[in-house]
Symmetry: C2
Subunit: 104 residues, 2 copies
Amino acid sequence: MKPEALKGHLDGMILAVVAAGPAHGYGIIASLRRRSDGVFDLAEGTVYPALHRLEAEGLLSSSWETASGRKRRVYRLTRRGRGSLGERRSEWRTFSRAVEGVLA
Amino acid sequence: MKPEALKGHLDGMILAVVAAGPAHGYGIIASLRRRSDGVFDLAEGTVYPALHRLEAEGLLSSSWETASGRKRRVYRLTRRGRGSLGERRSEWRTFSRAVEGVLA
DNA sequence: CACGACGCCTCGCATCGCTATGTATAGTGT
DNA sequence: ACACTATACATAGCGATGCGAGGCGTCGTG
């Protein structure tokens, strides 16, 4: 799978993961791996910038927590983030149907 | 729909269109629009470079033809192109299932 | 005490869709 | 004649973003 395939679809997936409950970066990477059945095993250099991007857009908010001596930045979905997630889910369906129409 | 969403998926779709029969650039754009139900209305600056890319990779071959006074570069699928199309269809299914697993 | 897992970060690269621009022919309308 | 649209090709430069590589620090285990 070419890496570019993910382009434009990652943000929505991160929103979906965080929508399931507050999560930190490292855990989000694990969730993406698990929920995609191992297909998305993403580098930290991919996910952390994406999280910062989403926070800068106001779709996520973050706060520091400490768990067993380690500091974590925990992300939560904002109201705008929840709205954006809905849009992105619908856009995915449109996109997906369109690709299948062509590829079929 | 963000433009980046297409990244990494266009080449396979072009191969699929040309697999249906020899086609030229302008016609391929029209086919993509039609087969995607209007979702993919791509700029020439998107498709022509992609065609050159695919030819450089040996997945398409081209030849000039003249139809009603206009010159067209007509593309055909090579054997390697046909193989690649199969791979990309299968990769799309993997990718698509993975995204749905996360987004669901 | 080394090593792997956990946990965060950022710089720079590569890819590639898209905008803008240029060229040229055919057909249609005024 | 003139303008405009559709057809048909091409490329330069921009922007977005996934990723590799590198760096920092904590914790538990053999």
